[in-house]
């Protein structure tokens, strides 16, 4: 069903266990071996976390060029992960794959773009790898849709997130009520956007990912305010400048000036309303504390504190409130924990992400494939 996630094809056809995903990946490896043997250039290219980050950025790049809404890019990323669960990056042109995912996502989200527009923008981005031939993109569209077995409607965590924040806000009891600030919501959005790099959307329902993003955001903030003394009370008033929009078009551009890991704390100032570097220091702090966070998270969630209980002094009242909400809900907490841990691992890996080497490997792969299969 298209309105109800629980009856959707996403749940019934495109959600898997970890074992199933592993199995599918092994099958792809088998295909790769049969197809290419042990060609050293090709074996240098893997669908690992680096490649995933790289592909994510390709989608973002093309999406931005086309001024697409975030939700379209997210849908495209889901298509990408679905396709690559059943096909190898070594049997297709990944740049064309990215363009095709975006092309189909535009249609399904009812913002169709002309095939010519998509192709020419893709060629602007990657002229060396996108052939100037509409039929190639159209052909790939066919195969992409076929590989997904025509299940195209995707449910995203953004709506769940909004619903959850509404619920948290609606409680009459002060001890249960939690107002999520626009700034926090923005942070959740960013985390959700990043979640598409991983297999999370093949594993868990959207609301799990939404909750994990909110949990990470709150924990993070608790960490920040703890490191700053008692700043948390006056904070809410200062961040009204944060803009939350589906389009993300006005989001900040300050990160390219950010240079090293060590400077994070010194750059951080309590006036968080200025849009520059808003999230970065948080993430750095988060990374430093990731092990303690995830283990205490696990402890806390598994303990399932009763309402009104304020046992764990490690968390701020806001986090406590959220934990109580989680404990009282029917939400699968194991899945939330897994999601949080995967996200933390992602941010950790991102620290070591080396774009140049992934790009080189990808280009070598494509040039080899080009000479082997188009000769």
């Amino acid at each position: 069903m298209s309105a109800n996630y629980w009856a959707s094809s996403q749940r019934n056809k495109w959600q898997f266990t970890r074992e199933e995903i592993t199995e599918a990946r092994q099958e792809i490896e088998l295909v790769e071996r049969q197809m290419f043997g042990d060609n050293p250039v090709l074996s240098g290219c893997k669908y690992d976390i680096n490649m995933r980050i790289y592909l994510h950025q390709l989608i973002v790049k093309l999406g931005r060029r086309l001024s697409l809404r975030q939700i379209i890019m997210s849908t495209a990323e889901v298509y990408l992960t679905r396709f690559l669960l059943r096909a190898s990056i070594k049997e297709v042109n990944v740049y064309l794959l990215v363009a095709t995912c975006i092309y189909v996502a535009c249609k399904i989200e009812e913002c169709p773009q002309h095939i010519r527009t998509i192709l020419s923008e893709a060629r602007n981005c990657w002229p060396e790898f996108i052939p100037n031939d509409l039929t190639k993109l159209a052909e790939f569209e066919f195969y992409l849709i076929d590989e997904m077995d025509c299940y195209l409607i995707v449910h995203h965590p953004y709506n769940s997130l909004v619903e959850i924040t509404k619920t948290l806000k609606s409680y009459d009891e002060t001890s249960a009520r939690l107002e999520i600030t626009p700034d926090e919501l923005q942070s959740c959005w960013s985390i959700i956007n990043d979640s598409y790099i991983l297999d999370l959307h093949l594993l868990f329902p959207p609301h799990i990912i939404g909750i994990a993003s909110l949990y990470l955001t709150l924990i993070l903030e608790a960490d920040v305010s703890a490191s700053e003394g008692k700043d948390s009370t006056g904070k809410d008033g200062k961040i009204e400048s944060a803009n939350i929009s589906m389009s993300d078009t006005k989001a900040d551009t300050g990160t390219s000036t950010y240079t090293s890991n060590d400077s994070s704390t010194s750059r951080f100032s309590p006036s968080r309303g200025t849009s520059h570097n808003r999230n970065l220091p948080q993430s750095q702090q988060l990374l430093q504390r990731k092990i303690s966070v995830s283990s205490t998270l696990k402890r806390n969630l598994q303990k399932r504190p009763r309402a009104g209980q304020t046992s764990n002094a490690q968390f701020s009242p806001r986090v406590e409130t959220f934990l109580r909400f989680l404990a009282a809900s029917n939400i699968n907490l194991d899945e939330v924990i897994e999601t949080v841990q995967e996200l933390l691992t992602l941010y950790d890996s991102w620290n070591y992400y080396d774009e140049l080497s992934v790009r080189n490997a990808t280009h070598s792969m494509l040039l080899t494939l080009n000479s082997d299969h188009n000769g």
């Binding site: 298209s2 399904i108 100037n132 039929t135 159209a138 000479s371």
Partner: protein, 484 residues
């Protein structure tokens, strides 16, 4: 590795774009490409003679063979999906291997619908309607891939999610040789055909129970669609199927779309929706935003048509002019006013906010005639008239919704709606006509796929029919129709 990349973990879209744009300028790309080329040349398998390998590589190198000044543009035959396509095509089962095509039922702008029997199942009544989407081929010689139409994408994606007894059941989709085949469970009848049967040669009214049950089941299916945030946008008798055991199946979701959180307004996506006779007044008045109420209006028109056996508002469509501006459908609105009377601001407060509101002054004032129309067309039941007037309520915000309409008193009084709309009926309707001369579903008659001579043309030759003679002509016909 740029520092901006390293700094990026937590920041999402914004930073990544910035970083990519920053570090991936032209010069950086050139370096990367240069490196990768030498890398691939250096790491070639030792078994191959280096010189020939290198030559080979250069010939296919997308930057030209000179090496001094790379053009940096992919050639048209640059690698796309070759190995993948080969792997997938090996395991593909053709539509003609799965289904025996019995003939074609209908043709429209979208393509053609065929009647088929499943070859794989064992039961005898495994009949299917296969909707083949027309491919937009410019020349008849080679079928090129073109983008899949928005309508096909909608219908495919929605049908894959929906499962309701009153919605056409999709049994599968086959993508084969640049064509899309949507396989539906076969429905022997549709309301247009049933209405026609009752009006020709002499009018004989549709039995009350059939009529009421049909409307009830349409509303059940529609209520399901609306609960799933889907607007049908093309309800009309021809799109309401009926199975041989009397179950309504709403079909043709080619214009349907989801309306929750639209990124783009409904009007921006499709300027004109719903076949003119069934188009709600708010649409005729140029509404930019509209609601499921437009489908309810169409149900009202269908109910009236089942009663009177004629379209209720049979207006003449004003064709699109060259400027591609949506014309005001004066005649259609006139037909509505003649029966329902002129709408007033008092009864429809938002009336003057519609773009075409000023046009209303062009009409003379009409009184409401619905009751008189109802009685002259043989209507006797009061509750039925009440439902009809609630469905044909001018103000979309006051028009009855699908869920409420299912609780309407008309459905609670005897005879109550039944699961088989033909129950107790003395009528038996003819089977759907099929054109047996064109069963070449793959369109192979022209020798496009000459490398597979037996592909789908066997049956046609066996029966002595010409090979798909009408196929391309009918498509040409259809596109002309669409142009008009």
């Amino acid at each position: 590795m740029s520092s901006s990349q390293r700094a990026k973990p937590y920041q999402s879209q914004t930073s990544s774009v910035q970083a990519v744009a920053g570090s991936q300028g032209q010069s950086a790309t050139a370096v990367a490409v240069g490196q990768s080329h030498s890398h691939s040349a250096a790491s070639q398998p030792p078994s191959q003679p280096p010189s020939s390998r290198h030559q080979y590589h250069q010939q296919n190198y997308p930057y030209g063979t000179g090496g001094s000044k790379p053009t940096r543009v992919a050639s048209n035959d640059f690698f796309t999906i070759g190995p993948y396509r080969k792997r997938k095509d090996q395991s593909r089962v053709s539509v003609v291997d799965r289904y025996e095509i019995l003939g074609y039922i209908a043709a429209g702008t979208y393509g053609k619908v065929y009647k088929a029997r499943g070859k794989l199942g064992s039961s005898t009544d495994n009949l299917y309607a296969i909707k083949k989407f027309k491919t937009e081929t410019k020349d008849n010689e080679v079928a090129h891939y073109t983008g899949i139409s928005q309508s096909a994408v909608r219908e495919m994606s929605l049908c894959k999610e929906l499962n309701h007894k009153n919605i056409s059941k999709l049994s599968g989709i086959i993508l084969e040789r640049k064509c899309i085949y949507m396989v539906f469970e076969f429905a022997e009848h549709d309301l247009l055909q049933i209405i026609h049967y009752h009006s020709h040669p002499e009018p004989k009214p549709i039995p009350q129970l059939t009529l009421k049950s049909a409307v009830y089941q349409i509303l059940q299916g529609l209520s399901f669609l609306h609960q799933n945030w889907i607007l049908h946008r093309d309800l009309k008798p021809a799109n309401i199927m009926v199975t041989s055991d009397g179950v309504i199946k709403i079909g043709d979701l080619g214009l349907a779309r989801k309306f929750n959180n639209p990124l783009q307004g409904l009007y921006a996506g499709d300027k004109v929706v719903v076949t003119i006779w069934y188009r709600a007044p708010e649409l005729l008045l140029g509404a930019r935003h509209y609601t499921p109420a437009i489908d309810m209006w169409a149900v009202g028109c269908i109910l009236a048509e089942l009663l009177s056996l004629r379209p209720l508002f049979k207006g003449e469509e004003t064709k699109m002019d060259n400027k591609k501006q949506v014309p005001f459908q004066e005649n259609q609105l006139l037909k509505i006013l003649e029966i329902l009377g002129t709408p007033t601001l008092e009864k429809w407060p938002s009336l003057n906010s519609y773009p075409e509101y000023p046009q209303l002054s062009r009409f003379t004032l009409f009184p409401s005639n619905l009751k008189a129309w109802y009685h002259t067309n043989g209507g006797t039941n009061k509750n039925c008239l009440k439902l009809l007037s609630q469905l044909l309520e001018y103000d979309p915000s006051k028009r009855i919704n699908a869920l409420d309409s299912l609780k309407h008193p008309w459905f609670y009084e005897n005879p109550k709606p039944v699961a088989n709309i033909f129950e107790g009926s003395k009528f038996s309707y003819p089977q759907r006509k099929i054109q047996k001369e064109d069963i070449d579903i793959l369109g192979t008659g022209k020798g496009i796929y000459s490398h597979r001579p037996n592909y789908g043309v066997n049956n046609a030759t066996k029966r002595g029919y010409p090979l798909a003679a009408s196929n391309d002509d009918s498509f040409a016909d259809m596109s002309r129709k669409r142009m008009r």
